[in-house]
Amino acid sequence: MFRRLTEPAGEIVTVNIDGKDVQVPAGETVATAVLVSSVGYTRTTPVSGAPRAPLCMMGVCFECVMEIDGIPNRQACQVRVENGMRIRRQYGAGASPVA
């Protein structure tokens, strides 16, 4: 569980995190937005299905991979939020982006 020290100032965008619309500051990373929105775990592992959450926040550990705008395995700590972005918890290896 994380919180903001101050109410976000400046430009705000709306993203959808697991079905819920959330207002977040433009330019921040998806992982930051997700941690503040109290999603708990952000993915389950492909091997055992264990829950995981962001660990390093600098693109090294790949624990934060999520499904972003329909594309799985994106590092939430490296992608910045954009208006209308759909962010989903990723289960296992993630659904194929090809329908």
Binding site: M1, F2, R3, R4, L5, T6, A9, P25, G27, E28, T29, T32, L35, V36, G40, Y41, T42, T45, V47, S48, A50, P51, R52, A53, P54, L55, C56, M57, M58, G59, V60, C61, F62, E63, V65, N73, Q78, R80
Partner: protein
């Protein structure tokens, strides 16, 4: 002139920024590639955009970064942010990915300044949501002013724990405890190194200031802690640890861990540079000369990417490597390079005097680095346990790379960045051969995951066409 100029600098922290700024000032056509959207690296993350109260809360060391970034912005160096480097060959060819477009680029010289990452030390429960690296939590604070909502515990070893706790204290965030996991015996090894460390005494003064402020703030700091476990099912709800021979349980939803830093050596390893085990820093470092040159021709490595020395030393190293690039590119002769580098060499030497003391004080015991708990996951990606690694060794796979082939540890998306050291420590423990004799995981391009579709965007380079 190649499109990307004479010098490529990879990484936008203090080392890379200083190298690029210096090189551009010396008239070298310089391009800086960085994975982040804005310059500053992890240490000065978000420094250009941090509101004043946040910058003040983070302290003067952080604010220093603004000047380095300004100097870089004012220079003629070209900046390519949000660019991933996925390969580096011994021939100096660099594979990059930018806006979904893959390319192979080349320059006459390369300076690597990819920084360091927090050492991963597996312990029971460390994969639970709610356990996060302390540096990661600090990135949240620096870049977004985001902090743990319901208090936290910091555990591990190293000066970052005190700094982060001090920053949280100033921000009004509840730190329940700081657990220092380096053993008491370290004090005896660190004490003889104290006189030399006092020559870089501002670090020690600051450490004592943090400790004093934390004490006044009523935050418990426990030294000589062992047996750390993270407890919970889907989410961390408590930690357990041993202190003064007694087992303690502390309820917490957030545990921040830190076990020092290790250089990001994936590019130096991919380029075939020679690496040496450093017993003080307890990791492999690329072998370099005084100017940052690696064993690969035309490739230098600087800052924490070369040796863990901190942000100040990184600036000096970046400056020196840029002077050496200028020499190699015939902008300076050797005498002039030496003259212009004299001050930085002296300052760097003075700044690094703190390091042997810190290394001894926070030296991690093998019992912690090579976990004896067979059920603990070591490879987080492929979910390989310490027990499986030990079993592989007992079955005759007595080298980290053999263990990797047989168990898949280190073959997941992080490509061994998290588990490489832990596997080597466990193999060393199980084979009773020192870790300095182990071979680290071999690294091959692509060193970052890249999709087939992205790879298919590669075009023949203009120079070779």
């Amino acid at each position: 002139m190649p499109e990307f100029g004479e010098l490529l600098v990879i990484g936008g922290g203090p080392a890379g920024l200083t190298a690029a700024t210096t090189a551009a000032r010396l008239g070298i056509y310089t391009t800086l590639l960085d994975e982040q959207p804005a310059p500053g690296g992890q240490i000065y993350r978000g420094v250009e955009e941090a509101p004043k109260p946040r910058a003040e809360l983070l302290g003067p060391d952080y604010q220093r970064g603004a000047r380095i970034v300004q100097a870089f912005r004012a220079s003629d160096a070209k900046h390519l942010p949000e660019t991933t480097v996925w390969s580096l060959g011994p021939d100096g060819k660099v594979g990059i990915l930018r806006d979904g477009q893959a390319r192979i680029i080349q320059a006459s010289r390369i300076i690597l300044a990819c920084g360091a990452t927090e050492r991963a030390v597996p312990f029971p429960g460390w994969t639970l949501p709610g356990v996060m690296n302390a540096g990661a939590a600090q990135i949240l604070l620096k870049s977004s002013g985001v902090v743990p909502a319901d208090g936290l515990v910091i555990a591990g070893a190293g000066p970052l724990m005190l700094l982060l706790a001090w920053q949280y204290l100033r921000a009004g965030v509840r730190v329940k405890a700081i657990l220092e996991l380096s053993p008491h015996v370290n004090l005896w090894h660190a004490a003889p190194r104290l006189p030399s460390a006092l020559l870089a005494g501002h670090y020690i003064t600051r450490g004592f200031r943090y400790l004093l402020d934390l004490r006044i703030g009523g935050i418990p700091v426990h030294f000589g802690v062992s047996g750390l476990r993270a407890l919970g099912e889907e989410q961390l709800n408590a930690i357990e640890y041993l202190h003064h021979g007694r087992c303690h349980t502390l309820p917490t939803g957030q545990l921040l861990i830190h076990f020092g830093l290790v250089p990001n050596t994936h590019l130096t390893e991919a380029a075939g540079c020679r690496h040496i085990w450093n017993p003080g820093q307890q990791c492999w470092l690329p072998a370099t000369d005084d100017w940052g040159n690696t064993s690969a021709s035309g490739i230098a490595v600087v800052g924490d990417n070369a040796t863990i020395g901190g942000a100040r030393a990184a600036e000096h190293a970046g400056h020196l490597a840029a002077l050496e690039a200028a020499r190699a590119l015939h902008r300076l002769n050797t005498t002039e390079r030496d003259r212009q580098g004299k001050d930085d060499r002296g300052w760097m030497r003075d700044d690094l005097r703190i390091r042997p003391f810190l290394e001894a004080l926070h030296h991690l015991p093998e019992s912690l680095l090579a976990t004896r708990d067979d059920d603990t996951l070591v490879c987080r990606c492929e979910e390989v346990t310490a027990g499986q690694i030990r079993q592989a060794v007992r079955e005759g796979h007595t080298d980290p790379n053999q263990v990797k082939f047989i168990s898949r540890c280190g073959m997941g998306p992080c490509q061994g960045r998290q588990c490489a050291h832990a596997v080597a420590h466990i193999v060393a423990d199980e084979t009773k051969r020192p870790i300095s004799e182990q071979t680290p995981f071999r690294v091959r391009p692509p060193v970052r995951p890249i999709s087939i579709a992205q790879l298919a965007t590669l075009e023949p380079s203009k120079e070779s066409a």
